[in-house]
Amino acid sequence: MNESLFSLLNYGVYGTAVILMLIGLYGALIKKSLLKIVIGLSVVDSGLNLLIVALGYYKGGTAPIFSPAYLAHPQLMVDPVPQALVLTAIVIGFGVTAVALALVIRLYRHHGTLNIDQIKNLKW
C-alpha cells in the first residue's frame, strides 16, 4: 500500500466513523419513532467504536497477541489499549440498548404507539 493512498485512509476511516455518528445522531434527534431513536443510538455507538479502534491501528502492525513468531517483535503490535476499552464500551452499549428497548416496549404498552408526538412528555 503506498503512502498517498494510505493518507487518504486517514480521512476515510475517521471520516466514516464521524459520519456514522452523525447519521445516528440525526436519527436519534429527528426521527419520530422510539425504536428509530434507539437504532440511531446504536449506530452512534458503532461509529464511536470504529473511531476508537482506528485510533489504535498502526500501519503494518499486527494484533497484540503474541505467537512464537512475534515474541521478539513487540514493536509490531498495534495499540491494545483502545481495543480493550472498546470491548468494555461495546458491552456497556449493549446493556444500555437492552434497557432502552425494554422501555420502548413498556411505552408501547401504555400508549399503543411509538410516535413521540403522541407521547406527551417526550416532545422536545
Binding site: M1, L35, I39, S42, L50, A54, L101
Partner: protein
C-alpha cells in the same frame, strides 16, 4: 492496494447501511440494517488488526442486538408511524 480497496468498499457499505437504517420506514428492515452494519464493521475491525473487537462486535451486533430489536418490533409495531403530520395539520386547522 487491495487492502485499500477493501477498506474503502467496506466503509462505503457501512455508510450506505447506516443511511438505510435511519431512513427506512419499515422498522424490521432498519433493524436488519443495523445487523449489517455490525457484520461489516466486524470485518473492518478484522482488517484493523483487532480480532478481539471483531469477535465481540460479531457476537453482540449480529446475534444479540438483532434478536432484541426483532423482539421489540414483534412486541410493538412494524412500520414507523407516519400519521403525525396529518394530525398536526388537523389540529392547526382547528
Amino acid at each position: 492496494m487491495i487492502y485499500f480497496i477493501l477498506i474503502a468498499v467496506l466503509l462505503v457499505l457501512i455508510i450506505a447501511a447506516a443511511i438505510y437504517a435511519v431512513r427506512q420506514k419499515d422498522l424490521l428492515y432498519a433493524t436488519l440494517a443495523t445487523g449489517i452494519i455490525s457484520l461489516i464493521l466486524s470485518v473492518l475491525y478484522f482488517l484493523l488488526q483487532a480480532p478481539d473487537v471483531a469477535l465481540t462486535e460479531a457476537a453482540i451486533g449480529v446475534a444479540l442486538t438483532t434478536i432484541i430489536f426483532v423482539i421489540t418490533v414483534r412486541n410493538t409495531v412494524r412500520m414507523e408511524d407516519e400519521s403525525d403530520k396529518k394530525e398536526k395539520i388537523k389540529s392547526a386547522v382547528k
